[in-house]
């Protein structure tokens, strides 16, 4: 039991970050506004969580200008995908153990 709990990723302990990773895992890429709408967050709140995941190299972003408006799209990195899968496997193992 303890070993599985240790395998949980601290970065995904937060619900918002878990939500961001889930949404990005299910889509090739999502832009900032779409993430905001999905998670129902304010700009600042979402940005800080995105930055935290970015710092760990779990997600990457691309900036582009569409109609002169900046548009940032986010996608999950290979590393992020692996870390997220490990986290889900650990969660499932813990639940199964009970």
């Amino acid at each position: 039991m303890k070993e599985y709990i240790n395998r949980l990723n601290k970065a995904f302990d937060n619900r918002v970050r878990l939500g961001i990773m889930s949404a990005l895992a299910a889509n090739q890429s999502l832009d900032f506004n779409r993430l905001k709408e999905l998670l129902d967050l304010t700009d600042g709140n979402l940005a800080s969580h995105l930055k935290a995941l970015e710092k760990q190299d779990y997600i990457a972003f691309e900036k582009a200008f569409i109609d002169r408006k900046p548009k940032t799209t986010y996608n999950i990195t290979l590393e992020g995908r692996k870390a997220f899968a490990d986290h889900i496997n650990a969660l499932e193992a813990i639940i199964k153990k009970q």
Binding site: L18, G19, S22, A26, N27, L30, R34, L91, I94, I95
Partner: protein
Amino acid sequence: MEESRLTHYFVFQSTFNMSNKYVQDIAEIRKMMEKSSRFISLSGLSGILAGIYALAGAYIAWKLAYATEEMVYSEQTVRNVRANWDYLMLDAFAVLFLTIITCIYLTRKKARKEGVKTWDTVAQKLLVNLFIPLIAGGILVIVLYTNGIIGLIAPITLIFYGLGLLNASYYTYKDIRYLGITEIILGLLASIYIGYGLLIWAIGFGVLHIVYGAVMYFKYEK
């Protein structure tokens, strides 16, 4: 003694709460993956209504296209397709129009209830993927008609509609995939038994929509 029991109780409570959190985490992951990649505001009710419109339309088409000839024996023949072409087209477009209006209305209503946007990227992808086979099929139907191959129109509409559903199913409930496959099979059957085209068409667009709409309604909306 009391104290140790109390500690035991708290330890038990906290592991229980933790495991509860893990279950909720998994539920949250699943919900977010679905919500971000699937359009789930399709209403089962619109399926039921679309099926009823299709049955009514098929009945009118049957009255228009088939003539009963009373000679020595009574015989039903398809003979009035070209004569009644304008009315048949009107019938078909009325069904199409009513279906689209009903779908838009009920989907918007359901989306509003769930607090999601109706016209988001997933909805767009769903429609684009549905309409690529539908438009191809529609063009093929026009080509067949101009070449006088009327018997293949009903099977072609079923097959291409099925392909459209199959394509769209990646962006909504997986059940739609099986509806698509069933429509394709019915279309192929209709192409073999051409005389039963309209009947099989009524099953595919009428009965199947009602059955699937009801299943979806009770599975996801009740």
